[in-house]
């Protein structure tokens, strides 16, 4: 059985896992974990160069080769539409004119929860400026649909707050988003361990984006491999069609001819 491939910005992806590059101990560990994850799309953040301290500071993009990976710059740290638009343009300049961006406008520093009204504003502007917007949002099904109609090429609802590791909090909403979507739905943020990613995929999501769950695990490279398999496993289980949950047991071994029935 052939799965229809994941297509983002006219490019076909055989991996449904997108990984971040933050919180690693070193750029070397980043590189190894990204490789172990088999991800083809990788998120990066946009920041000021630390003048002076940067002397021989290496550049992330020397480790994560933009020729090999699709670089997905995010607008992390932005709390307004204007900031997000500015950062998107800086990202495009840094990446030689690429227009793919992960839009992320947050509303508070404690929960890092998406600010929906600013996100909608920014999305509209960026689409007008021909950006290809993959948008981080809440699990509100109506907002998800509105972002799709605005022209975002992928909608990325959270499973749970960024870095919380709580896993999918509201599978009901995620399912509704998936059922109503015409663009790829990618769960972004909140995954804590492999089964969380598998569950997201079993709900029918097209992919999962994660960073902390891999980077902050005791063994990031091994966890990256676990996540690769978790995503594939969840996708295949979704396609294979799970058995229904039953109140009562049903024997896996046939009952007829059972030797033990002699005595009955």
């Amino acid at each position: 059985m052939k799965d229809k491939p994941l297509v983002i910005n006219d490019k076909i992806y055989s991996s449904r896992l997108i990984v971040g590059t933050g919180k690693y101990k070193s750029l070397k560990e980043t590189k190894l974990a990204v490789e172990a994850s088999a991800a083809e799309m990788v998120t990066v953040a946009i920041r000021r160069v630390n003048i002076g301290q940067d002397k021989n500071q290496e550049n992330l993009l020397d480790y994560i080769d933009p020729k090999k990976y699709t670089i997905l710059p995010n607008t992390a740290g932005c709390y307004s539409a204007d900031d997000a638009i500015r950062v998107s343009n800086l990202a495009s300049e840094i990446l030689g004119g690429e227009k793919l961006v992960k839009l992320e406008v947050l509303g508070d520093k404690k929960m890092l929860y998406p600010n929906i009204s600013e996100t909608l504003k920014a999305a509209e502007q960026l689409v007008k400026q021909n950006f290809k917007v993959m948008v981080y949002t809440t699990d509100d099904p109506l907002v998800a649909k509105e972002l799709e109609l605005i022209g975002c090429i992928s909608v990325m609802p959270l499973a749970a707050p960024i870095g919380s590791g709580l896993g999918v909090q509201n599978s009901y909403n995620i399912t509704s988003i998936v059922e109503n979507a015409k663009v790829p739905i990618i769960v972004d943020a909140g995954v804590g361990t492999a089964s969380d990613a598998t569950i997201a995929m079993e709900l029918g999501c097209d992919g999962v984006l994660m960073n902390t769950a891999i980077a902050c695990s005791r063994n990031p490279v091994l966890m990256a491999s676990a996540m690769k398999k978790a995503i594939e496993s969840g996708r295949e289980a979704f396609l294979a069609g799970r058995i229904p949950k039953k109140k009562y047991a049903s024997a896996s071994s046939p009952v007829e001819g059972s030797v033990s029935f002699d005595k009955e």
């Binding site: 919180k23 990066v44 920041r47 000021r48 630390n50 003048i51 995010n74 300049e93 960073n211």
Partner: protein, 68 residues
């Protein structure tokens, strides 16, 4: 003669007529994979060579780093 500009918000005194190209060289920052804003406006790489900085210009040098 020197003048002051702001590089990533730090007051910096430089020789007059310096271009972005030279500034980056002095700072030992590669052109590849960065963006430069002067007074909130992005300056495309093609213009670094001929773009002369003026007194009090606010220069921002931006790059990509690890993020999720």
């Amino acid at each position: 003669m020197t003048m002051n500009i702001f590089v990533n918000r730090a007051k910096t005194s430089i020789s007059e007529k310096i271009t972005i190209e030279l500034l980056l060289m002095n700072l030992r920052i590669e052109k590849k994979f960065i963006a430069v804003e002067v007074n909130q406006v992005i300056v495309p790489k093609s213009k670094y060579k001929n773009f002369h900085l003026k007194e009090n210009d606010e220069v921002e040098i931006i790059k990509a780093i690890g993020g999720g």
